[in-house]
């Protein structure tokens, strides 16, 4: 890989994480359509990981995304995944 290609990929890494934050933010503020659409653009393994975090946090219970509490839970799960991807 060329240094220019790597620099571009590093930029893409930050952008991908910013997109994920924007998705979490959309859920947090109840913008469900925007949040759902944003989720579709996340890589499949990331979506699965978010599902898993939600499952673990809710104790395996189904959640209703139209409820404020569930929206905060989804946002928190997405942000946990962001933290994992940043690996700080």
């Amino acid at each position: 890989m060329s240094p220019e290609g790597l620099a571009h990929a590093l930029e893409g890494y930050v952008e991908a994480l910013r997109h994920q934050v924007a998705v979490a933010e959309a859920f947090f503020f109840g913008r469900l359509t925007e949040g759902m659409e944003g989720l579709m653009y996340l890589p499949e393994d990331i979506r699965l990981r978010i599902d898993q975090i939600i499952w673990q946090t809710s104790g395996g219970q189904a959640i209703d995304p139209t409820e404020k509490e569930s929206q905060s839970l989804i946002a928190a799960a997405i942000m946990k995944s962001v933290d994992e991807r940043m690996d700080l």
Partner: protein
């Protein structure tokens, strides 16, 4: 059948005559009291005061994000929210300040998000994630070598390779 034009009884209409300009200007000026010493520019900006105030407060919060204690930051974010709610109308500037206000609120609840937007940290603080990535990016380009990339953790490197794969 012929219908006569309707006429109000007992009303003698007078043709309307335009008031002379000077007279009407004087009439308007009578009703407006401009405080002494106030410039025209001040009045021009007055309409946008709530937006300007909100912008200023947002800048203050961003500037002191790492210095203020949590309670003060929270109170300022609530204050900003109130100011944004008070802004009337729609414009790109208003939409922008609403987004900034929501972002600050969100970053307060989820501090991890600040790592991706904070590239103006004080020197005494550890660099943000964004600063670290930008630093590596610049060194890769300057040295024309991939060596600085090795400073990232294995997970971070894996994430960068994911982007490379997605781009193919």
């Amino acid at each position: 059948m012929y219908i006569n034009p309707i006429k109000a009884k007992g009303v003698t209409s007078q043709p309307k005559v335009a008031t002379p300009f000077v007279a009407s200007a004087a009439k308007v000026a009578k009703g407006i009291h401009i405080p002494k010493g106030a410039s025209k520019g001040e009045f021009k900006g007055r309409m946008w005061t709530p937006l300007t105030q909100a912008k200023k407060l947002a800048q203050e919060i961003q500037k002191h994000w790492n210095q203020w204690d949590l309670e003060h930051t929270a109170s300022q974010i609530i204050e900003l929210e109130d100011r944004v709610l008070a802004i009337q109308g729609t414009s790109s500037q208003i939409e922008k300040i609403k987004k900034i206000q929501q972002r600050l609120h969100f970053q307060f609840v989820h501090p991890g998000a600040t790592e991706l937007f904070d590239n103006d940290r004080e020197e005494t603080m550890p660099p943000s994630f964004l600063q670290t990535i930008q630093d590596i990016m610049q060194r890769v380009l300057r040295s024309h070598s991939l060596a600085p990339f090795q400073e990232l953790t294995l997970n971070q490197q894996r994430e960068v390779f994911r982007i490379v794969e997605e781009g193919k």
